[in-house]
């Protein structure tokens, strides 16, 4: 997994609440057995509208998606973060996320930043007002800032997730450091509740 440290990226605003993963990547694009190649499917139905945010030249090359509450609800498809990453996004900023999407994002090096509704509102305002609006996301410092440093917002993140992202760690490898513990647990469980095995 690619490390995530500091991202200085163009911001694309998607001003809708409850964006579900069926919209992020419609099912007709799930028919692959690979993890890449999903960029074309990203918001495919909405991109048919010429006015859709990702069709506007000013947001070409955006790496940060600004979104509203409950982003990524619905289906567990990991194709949603895969498509966002494939398209070029490295981070989403929203007031809240659906749990499964939130988890899936971390596993792929896509940082889901949580800010308050008021902060997100402010960013939508800035983004609409200033073409070329960029943000600097510093994961180590847990901050989102305008490029001139005039605007700085702090965000929270689980220390373990941060550690994995900053170091680009393979989570399976990390878990397998506890292989003995897992084996012990399993042996105990099997002795106590043999019908599960």
């Amino acid at each position: 997994m690619e490390k995530f440290t500091v991202l200085n990226g163009l911001v694309a605003p998607l001003d809708r609440a409850n964006v579900d993963t069926d919209q992020i990547i419609p099912k007709q694009y799930l028919a692959s057995i690979k993890r890449t190649g999903f960029a074309g499917g990203l918001f495919a139905d909405w991109r048919k509208d010429p006015g859709f945010v990702l069709n506007q030249p000013r947001y070409k090359g955006a790496q940060i998606l600004l979104a509203r509450k409950n982003f990524g609800c619905g289906s567990s498809r990991e194709h949603a973060p895969w498509a966002l990453i494939d398209y070029g996004f490295r981070s989403v900023i929203a007031p809240s996320y659906a749990d499964i999407f939130f988890n899936n994002s971390y596993k792929n090096g896509l940082l889901p930043v949580v800010l308050t509704e008021a902060e997100v509102d402010r960013l939508f305002h800035e983004c609409n007002a200033f073409p070329g609006f960029r943000l600097v996301i510093d994961l180590e410092r847990q901050s989102v800032a305008s490029t001139d440093g005039a605007l700085v917002m702090r965000f929270e993140i689980d220390p373990f997730r941060k550690y994995c992202l900053v170091n680009g760690l393979d989570e399976i490898g990390l878990t397998l450091r506890h292989a003995d513990k897992i084996r012990e647990f399993e042996a105990r469980r099997k002795a106590q509740y043999p019908w599960y095995f």
Binding site: D20, S76, F185
Partner: protein
Amino acid sequence: MPQTLYDKLWNSHVVHVEPDGTALLYIDRHLVHEVTSAQAYEGLRAAGRKPWRVESVVATADHNTPTTHWEEGLAGVRDPFAKLQIETLDANIRQFGAKVYFPYLDRQQGIVHVIGPEQGATLPGMTVVCGDSHTSTHGAFACLAHGIGTSEVEHVLATQCLVTKKMKNLRINVEGPLGRGVTAKDIVLAIIGRIGTAGATGYAIEFAGAAIRSLSMEGRMTVCNMAIEAGARAGMVAVDEVTIEYLRGRKFAPSGALWDQAVAYWRTLVSDPGAKFDREVPINAREIKPHVTWGTSPEMVVTVDDAVPDPDRENDAQRREAMERALSYMGLKPRTPITDIAIDKVFIGSCTNSRIEDLRAAAAVVRGRRVASNVKLALVVPGSGLVKQQAEREGLDRIFRDAGFEWREPGCSMCLGMNPDRLSAGERCASTSNRNFEGRQGPGGRTHLVSPVMAAAAAIAGHFVDIRRWS
């Protein structure tokens, strides 16, 4: 200290905890299907890893499988990508193994969330995961059942553990008797309507109360299935006699002395008196009526005797805009009575409502009647091969066919439209499935979520009707 059911399930599976609360949770049952597993197996191969415990895996192909042309074998799968996913699952299970595999065309194949319970492969006290958000279904058996992403599928295959944090406890108490024509589906739609599509994000829901107790296991599965539509990764119901009787004699359930031991343990899988919940929501079952969604999120739902809401009466600008967009997508005018909405297609199926009880209830409504002439297609897709065989033994297939329904082979089918069963743009469907998102059942398709009896009645009438007035 008194514990909730969720606390007990959590505590009995924690292998290791990081200082920040991130835990390794041991996984008992891993359900695998063709659409979210290929990349996980590929990852295992690339890293030279093996599954930790093959015996935990139950696999089937269900998401993209056609419900027709089974007589042609694999050649009946016209979509080359779907075929590749089905063949890839076959190859992966051949290479890595499983406790049991129900491949495409097998007589016991079916929707992963239908076959787990009916095979007795889902047992109380288990942790269950699957690369599908509707894994919450299995919580009906007092399991801790999560939907997971593909990276997590790979992680569970390789380590038998899920990296996760404990959720908060939410209990939804549905008290009182259910009225005539009101089903498990209406209970859960009423709950989602009340708390919203993100209302339970970050929580594990325990569904409790007399109305939940009164449900069959099929009904409890319907309720838990849609916990995710309220934002909760896991929903659950405590063990009682109904749970135990359902499991007795199932293929992978324990038997003999082990059965007695297991039952003694399972009976402890209830929330202790005085257990603390972070939040409780009371719902009066007497007030629940048949529900119909009108918009593009399951929270956009009203009762059948109501009308399409008017965005002009919504004060919140963001909500108003979402309503307007939904109405435009759905082709509906504000204040239209729900029973005036005519439909083009009917879908009875999905992991929410494709079990034998659902089919019996729908068949009782259509018996001796005909599908309305404006309904282009009325589909019944049983949840599994076993459900289909049972229904045929009871003659339900004849009742549906005689009424003009198509009787199909099992699978996820038009719930997500990855196979050929889809809505065309602009088509309006009464569907027993779980999501009414834009394009969910086909690009441009318009989905109204309802119970099986409401879908059946709509098929006959050609528009929504209040099943409470059906005779």
